[in-house]
Structures are given as structure tokens and as C-alpha cells.
Amino acid sequence: MPLLELDGVDAAYGELRALWGLDLRVEEGETLAVVGANGAGKSTLLKTIAGVMHPTAGRVRFDGRDVADVADHRRVALGISLVPEGRRIFRSLTVQENLQVGAYSRRPGPWDLAAVFDAFPLLADRRNRIGAHLSGGEQQATAIGRALMANPRLLLLDEVSLGLAPVVVGDIYRALPTIAAKGTTVLVVEQDLGQALSVADRLQCLLEGRTVLEAPAVELTREQVAAAYFGLEEAP
């Protein structure tokens, strides 16, 4: 049984359809990268899984259970944590307080302050700095650490690389294998193909709310993904 299963999910912002009958599966322990251009429906997909948006049709099953009637703030207790687009750090709280708020649901597991500071050493030095005074990279690391503090079974990462310098993105992506090694299933949404291919076991490419390519990462070339990404030709 897959940990996460989406069946024919439609989602829309008012009149604007963002997802068209989307199917998606993530096995426990796997890292899936969902790639696609702006407006492909990647963030909508994550919001729908996290319960921030509600699908207009189709089903979202987590660990075999239909989660349609589970509110967003209750999905954290089930083990779904979203690192939102734009990071949304609590600006008046320190790094450490941000992380502690992440543990609010008190799910047991391997992640605590020490483990997060281990995975993101730059946060340990900044633990007493408030969110408003962090650089983009520090904010992103804090946002990921904050989500990990809930000990999720499924970690949803939205556009980790957005607006960050490449060297900072590299630092953050280097922590992902550590996260996967602790048994956390990761669904990462990315515009940056290189990063997505480097961390993912499997890759799914969206174009205008539909899946155009889905395959194990090792079987894919950059060119194949790029073609699907821009919708240049029929996916192989």
C-alpha cells in the first residue's frame, strides 16, 4: 500500500482549474520529485495534500485512509508536514522557538532540536536570532527544520530553491539524504531540474495540471525531462 495516493484529483481556484484528474503515488521511504513550470499545479498539489485546499473531485488517501474530512491542522498529527512556498517563518520568534513551535503536535520520532541542528549546522549558530533577521537560506533551513520537528511520515517541500543562491540551495539539498535516511518519505516540488534529479528516487513532471512524465530518476535524462517540462513534444 502506498503511503500517499491521489486518485483523479481536481483542484481549482474559483474558476481557474489547477489540477486535472491527477493521479500520484508515493511509497513509504521513497523520495518523489514533482517538477514543472510555473502554473503547472505543483504548489496546488502540495496544498491539496496538506489540506490547505480541498479537491473538487477525486480522493486523497494517506496510509490507506481517505483524508477528505481531516482539517489541515489535524493532518500534522497524522504525519503530513508541509514546508510552504515562501517559507513563512514566524518572524517575531527566534530560530529555536520556530523549531519548538514545529513540535507542537508532539508526534514522537527521531527529530528533536539536537537532530535538526545536526542536519543544519548553520541553524545552531543562529538559534537565538529572530525570524525577521534571517537570510533566505537560513529561513529555508528553519522552515524545513520546523516541519521535521513534527516527525512527519511524509514531508512536503515546496520550491526549496526559490529565490536562493545556488550555493545555499546545494547546502540545503545536502540535508535531504539525512532526512530520507531517517525513514521520512519526501515529496519535493521543484523548478530546478538538476536538484530534483539529484535527490529523487522517482520523478513526476506536471504540465498545466496533468502528468506528462513519470519514471524512476535513474532512467531519465535531463533532456527528456526538459522536453516534458516545457511540453515541447509528447513525453516518451
Binding site: 496538506a50 490547505v52 489541515d72 491542522h73 489535524r74 500534522v76 498529527a77 508536514s81 508541509l82 510552504p84 513563512r88 517563518i89 514566524f90 518572524r91 517575531s92 520568534l93 522557538e97 520556530n98 519548538q100 513551535v101 514545529g102 513540535a103 507542537y104 503536535s105 529572530i130 525570524g131 525577521a132 520546523r146 516541519a147 513534527a150
Partner: protein
């Protein structure tokens, strides 16, 4: 010595203002709601404490604590049932809702308790005082009010900075949507914040009722002083509110020392001066979310 006395009495009076204002400050700090029913709630709590102490043989302090607990519950329900809905209607909606609530509460009080002025009797405590030096005495009850105000603000601040729920409340204040992603129910957090605020205003109302005569409409006057304390101190900062209350109290007593009729006016002038010279208040929050 008369001037020293004026300042000391002002600080003691400021304790009462700070006690009144801290709930207002908390509700604004967490939810950006300006609660215009704050004064009316204080007076209602004074009536409840009075009623409890007359109808039961319980000690006054027990009546006060009971009233605080009842009002904390009322605050929670008020937030969950009314203000959370109003918040969805934009910034102006909660303001109008609390204004309407204040009108309803004052009229209900007139209907039930009549417009006669009342006070809560505390016996000898009302007049007992300690002489520090010649020409300077401190009223035991005003000192008690100041101590309660400082303790209450200290406790709320401790709760906000050191407990998991307090951190969650500050996080919700920064970004309710992101707080939900952490498993925090923002509506519940808002409910708790208003419960604490309305509980504190119940205590303030009871202290007010013990120190002076009150009528159903007395809350309006009280509301102005509480607002001035919050603005002078800086919006959303609890220690700032304490400072604001003290500054306002001192301004009023020193003003009254200059010319007895000018006490309240001096308070307003200091308030306006702060607004003009330092609009963010004396102790503004360093980060605005």
C-alpha cells in the same frame, strides 16, 4: 515633598490603568482586534463580583477569582462564537461587533442593575495606608492593585515566552496560516488569548469596583484610559502597556497637583504628545509581523 507624593500616587493609580489595559493590549497584540467592549466587560465583572459577594458568604477574594474564571470562559466563547467570524469580514468588522456588544452590555446592565452607582465594599482596606515619611503615605489597596497588575503582566509575559502554548500563540499572531501547518488550531489560540484578556479585565473591573463608585456606563471612561495606556506604551507590548499605565497615572496626578481640575487633561496631553512625537509608543514591538 508634595511633588514626590504626586508621582508616587500617580504610579499607584497607573497600576490600576495597567491592570485594565493589559487585556486590551493582549487582544490587539495577538489578533489585531481593537476591543471596544473592554470597558463594558470590566464594569460587568465588577457587578458580578459585587453580586457574588452579596449573595454568598464567600470571602471577597473567592468571589473575585470566581468572576475571573467565569469571564475567561465568556471570553473564550465570545471569540469562538462571534469574533472569529467577524475576523473573516475584514479589519473593520470586529471593531463594529465589539462596539455593538458594548452598547448591548451597557443597556442590559442598566436594565438589570439600574443606573444607581455601586461599589464593592472592602472594609478597612479601602482607607488603610502606610506612612513612608512625612507627607508621603501609600494606600495599601492601591499598592495591592499595582502589585497585582505587575504580577499579572509578568505572568502573561512568562506564559507567552516560556510555554509551548504561549509560543504557539505568538506564532499564530505572526502567521495564522503557517501556524495551522504546525498543527495549531488558530481559532482555538484566539479563543485562549481572549479568555486570558477577558479574565484579566474581570480582575481589573473588580479592583475598579473596590476603589471607586461605578455605574453601567462607567466602562466608557475606563476604556479611554486603558486605550491611552496601550498607545503610550506601544501597541502589542505588555511591558509597554505597564509603562504606559504608569506614565498616564503620573501625568494625571502631577497635573492635578499643578491645578486640581487639570489632572485628566494632563493625562490626555501626555497621550497626545506621545502620539505626536513617538507614534509607535515608548516600548514598541521590535518586530511587526
Amino acid at each position: 515633598m508634595t511633588w514626590v507624593n504626586a508621582v508616587v500616587q500617580g504610579l499607584l493609580l497607573g497600576g490600576q490603568y495597567a491592570l485594565l489595559a493589559c487585556g486590551l493590549s493582549l487582544v490587539f497584540g495577538v489578533m489585531r482586534i481593537v476591543n471596544l467592549a473592554h470597558g463594558a466587560l470590566a464594569v460587568t465583572a465588577a457587578y458580578l463580583t459585587l453580586w457574588l459577594s452579596q449573595r454568598t458568604s464567600l470571602p471577597l477574594v473567592v468571589c473575585l477569582v470566581a468572576s475571573v474564571l467565569v469571564f475567561a470562559g465568556v471570553g473564550y466563547l465570545l471569540q469562538r462564537g462571534l469574533l472569529n467570524r467577524a475576523l473573516r469580514g475584514g479589519e473593520l468588522a470586529p471593531l463594529l461587533v465589539t462596539f455593538g456588544l458594548a452598547v448591548i452590555v451597557v443597556n442590559l446592565l442598566q436594565e438589570i442593575a439600574t443606573a444607581n452607582s455601586r461599589s464593592i465594599s472592602i472594609g478597612g482596606l479601602a482607607t488603610s495606608s502606610t506612612r513612608i515619611v512625612d507627607g508621603l503615605s501609600i494606600g495599601v489597596f492601591s499598592l495591592l492593585t499595582l502589585v497585582v497588575a505587575v504580577a499579572l503582566i509578568g505572568l502573561i509575559q512568562l506564559f507567552l515566552s516560556r510555554t509551548a502554548v504561549g509560543r504557539a500563540m505568538r506564532a499564530t499572531s505572526d502567521d495564522p496560516g503557517a501556524a495551522r501547518l504546525m498543527g495549531i488550531d488558530d481559532r482555538h489560540m484566539y479563543g485562549l488569548a481572549t479568555a486570558i484578556a477577558v479574565g484579566s479585565v474581570a480582575a481589573a473591573g473588580a479592583f475598579l469596583g473596590m476603589s471607586t463608585q461605578f455605574t453601567p456606563g462607567y466602562g466608557d471612561l475606563v476604556l479611554i484610559f486603558a486605550f491611552e495606556a496601550v498607545i503610550i506604551g506601544g501597541l502589542g507590548s505588555l511591558w509597554g502597556t505597564l509603562l504606559g499605565g504608569l506614565v498616564l497615572g503620573v501625568a494625571q496626578t502631577v497635573g492635578a497637583q499643578v491645578e486640581p481640575a487639570y489632572g485628566i487633561l494632563f493625562g490626555h496631553v501626555v497621550f497626545l504628545a506621545v502620539l505626536a512625537l513617538k507614534p509607535s509608543g515608548l516600548m514598541p514591538r521590535t518586530v511587526t509581523a
